[in-house]
């Protein structure tokens, strides 16, 4: 029996964002945009979706005089990511 894949994470961009945030303590919007190579608008929408699901926390502040959005993965996000990886592994091993 295959485990069901979390639809929120089974998207290239959202999974990319979660993979970055799982391995660092925090990352700002510009860094994530550079790493994922996506547009600011698209990234903003996907970050909102992850935030609404409680997978990441978003903090808006300033770096010097420039506005800066910092993202962190939450405990719920870590659990969801781990479950997603386990599900993916079960797909690959059973195929």
């Amino acid at each position: 029996m295959f485990k069901e894949l979390n639809p929120l994470l089974h998207s290239e961009l959202r999974l990319g964002v979660m993979s970055i945030l799982i391995s660092v303590e925090s990352a700002d919007f510009t860094y994530i945009r550079k790493q994922t190579g996506t547009t600011a608008g698209n990234l903003s929408v996907q970050l909102d979706k992850l935030s609404q699901a409680g997978y990441i926390s978003i903090e808006k502040g300033y770096k010097g005089k420039m506005p800066c959005t910092t993202c962190k993965i939450t405990a719920l996000g870590v659990t969801a990511f781990r479950e997603y990886v386990e599900a993916i592994q079960s797909y690959i091993t059973k195929k």
Binding site: H10, S11, E12, L13, R14, L15, G16, S19, I20, I22, S23, V24, E25, S26, A27, D28, F29, T30, Y31, K34, Q35, T36, G37, T38, N42, V45, Q46, K63, G64, Y84, V85, I88, Q89, Y91, I92, K95
Partner: protein, 195 residues
């Protein structure tokens, strides 16, 4: 990257790639923080030494406070110029230096204000900061910081054993050359090659 579904193999490859991209431990100019603290400490030591030698006025010991006063702007500037990501390694290193830095500052202040006047403060500071350099070197896997820290401890032993004031001041400055300045330059050279 787009908001599109992907297959299982693509998922795993993407996760591996993103995690790998964040694992770069060194960034351009990583040695700058060591150079800043190293040079500030060396110049302050020489300034205090010369001032005390020339004037014999112990009030010049307050000049030691130039180290935190001059060093703090470098920390603030570094925070503003970072790459937009904070790894767990950054967090650990920061916490190590906060603990060691505050300990060093507190003990120095107590010594300067004569609360602990018989305390061998310069020797203790060499030990505390050497431990910081060695730990940082071990965490980021950069040997010159570890070796520099060990050298600084050895210089610290000489500093403690020799009772001549001029030698004490010079060995204090020399310890910071070994643990901060030399590894700091080497770290900058290494990051220039990698970036």
């Amino acid at each position: 990257m787009q908001d599109r579904p992907i297959d299982e193999k693509e998922s795993l490859a993407l996760i591996a790639q993103m995690i790998q991209n964040t694992q770069q431990k060194l960034e351009l100019g990583s040695g700058r923080i060591f150079l800043s603290w190293g040079y500030i400490t060396i110049f302050t030591t020489i300034a205090v030494w010369l001032a005390l030698r020339i004037t014999n006025n112990p009030h010049w010991n307050y000049l030691w406070f130039a180290i935190p006063v001059c060093g703090l702007p470098f920390i603030i500037l570094r925070k503003r110029n970072n790459l937009g990501v904070r790894t767990y390694i950054d967090k650990i290193i920061k916490q190590v230096w906060i603990v060691l830095g505050l300990t060093g500052f507190l003990l120095s202040a107590l010594s300067i204000f004569n609360v602990m006047w018989s305390f061998p403060i310069l020797f203790i500071i060499i030990l505390i900061m050497s431990i910081g350099s060695i730990l940082t070197g071990l965490i980021i896997e950069f040997k010159p910081l570890v070796i520099g820290g060990i050298f600084a401890i050895l210089i610290g032993a000489v500093h403690y054993l020799i009772k001549i004031y001029d030698v004490k001041m010079l060995t204090f400055a020399l310890a910071f050359l070994a643990m901060d300045v030399i590894p700091g330059h080497m770290l900058n050279i290494k990051t220039k090659k990698h970036v």
